[in-house]
């Protein structure tokens, strides 16, 4: 990974528009201390399905393709994540391996935070924990939409999912 100057979340102009990032100043300050900011090229794999979930990644800039893979290597795109999203959250909180693969579609800026730091941060900052709950709820709605579109489309045999 290529390191860059560590910009502060407190000075980020996008902060009010990114759900997770729009935290009280004290929480944002503490998050600054825990995060590692990196600039990464297009095509970088942030994490792969089945890998141990050691970090979450906050996508500051750029887009990420989230996909699931079979053992034989076939891939199905779940969705495209955009700036402000927190990736790998469910795996880190559940203590499970990553459930999907995250690949950069653009050159991107990301802030990563280690699992144990995130867990402590969420315990110490209730607002951040509430934001995470909201984010996970939104993610779950999207996932169920995907289940609906794939599962019911396959039973009707009317649509073939995009598979690589």
């Amino acid at each position: 990974m290529e390191s860059a100057i560590q910009p502060s979340c407190l000075e980020c102009v996008e902060r009010p528009e990114h759900r997770f990032c729009d935290l009280p100043d004290e929480a944002s300050h503490d998050f600054d201390l825990l995060k590692t900011f990196t600039v990464l090229p297009k095509g970088t794999m942030l994490f792969r399905t089945g890998e141990p979930a050691h970090n979450v990644v906050v996508l500051c800039e750029g887009r990420v393709r989230l996909s699931v893979c079979s053992e034989s290597g076939r891939r199905l795109t779940l969705r495209i994540a955009g700036p402000g999203e927190v990736l790998g959250l469910s795996a880190v909180l559940a203590g499970s391996p990553y459930q999907m693969t995250a690949e950069l579609l653009d050159n991107a800026q990301v802030a990563s935070i280690r699992r144990k730091d995130l867990l402590r941060f969420l315990h110490e900052h209730r607002e951040a924990c509430l934001q995470v709950v909201n984010l996970l709820s939104q993610d779950l709605h999207v996932a169920y939409d995907r289940v609906r579109s794939i599962g019911l489309a396959r039973s009707r045999r009317s649509r073939v999912p995009r598979v690589h």
Partner: protein, 240 residues
């Protein structure tokens, strides 16, 4: 005194014997006492609908006893069963938190005890108790991982045979059977319901089971299924 639907009702979370084994329920005493005040303990018979896909969220349902079928419906009436929920799970969680309609229909498949909490009470409870908020985050994470697993299974499996094999292997890995050479599982669902879980027809499921029995990969004894040849079932699941 007889309990409704044959259930032994758990009157208070504070005295519940299984509390420590359940992710959401294992809260500190202060949070649990606050939860006691806002919950309504209710018993439901088998076949009761707790909430319907598309309905505005009224609140959460903590499943204390029994099992609940979670499903999605198409406009033409086709149903996909997404999951069978077990005691300890909080139903309607993401809808209640987000304010969006329930994404699934929840129907009891056993007599159930459920603790219902109204939406505004639950949101206030989360704001006031960070431990509960964290538990909710953990449970949402597990649900999300399960949904991703479902997407992978539905979207990447070639055939109904693969999906059925994966489902049987998943079920057989529970209740301490995972390490056994010939694990057993209780078939709690009909062939129709299994078909709804894997997105195929009842006739296909019946044919697939007959095929598995003929090849002696599985053996049925009443509602118990014995997996005689786990390796062969894994080969089918991996499309080999």
């Amino acid at each position: 005194m007889l309990s409704p639907y044959g259930l032994d009702i758990i009157e208070s979370c504070l005295t519940c014997k299984t509390r420590n084994e359940r992710l959401f329920c294992d809260l500190p005493a202060a949070a649990l006492q606050a939860f006691e005040v806002i919950k309504y303990a209710t018993a439901y018979p088998k076949g009761a609908v707790l909430f319907v896909e598309g309905q505005a969220p009224r609140g959460i349902f903590v499943l204390c006893k029994g099992r609940v079928k979670l499903s999605i419906c198409a406009t033409d009436g086709k149903t996909l069963i997404v999951k069978i929920s077990e005691p300890g799970e909080v139903l309607g969680l993401s809808a209640t938190v987000s304010g969006k309609p329930y994404e699934l229909t929840a129907e009891t498949i056993d007599p159930c005890q459920v603790n219902f909490v109204k939406r505004e009470d639950f949101l206030r409870f989360l704001r006031e108790h960070s431990d509960a908020c964290f538990r909710v985050a953990e449970q949402l994470s597990e649900k999300y991982n399960t949904a991703c697993h479902e997407v992978r299974s539905l979207g990447l499996s070639h055939s109904a045979g693969e999906k059925l094999a994966k489902l049987l292997l998943e079920w057989s890995s529970k209740n301490g059977e995972a390490s056994k050479q010939e694990p057993r599982l209780k078939l709690a669902l009909t062939h129709e319901e299994i078909a709804q879980m894997i997105g195929t027809s009842r006739e296909t499921v019946t044919r697939l089971f007959a095929d598995l029995k003929k090849k002696q990969i599985v053996q049925a004894k009443g509602s118990t299924l014995l997996i005689r040849n786990k390796a062969a079932l894994k080969l089918i699941a991996n499309n080999n």
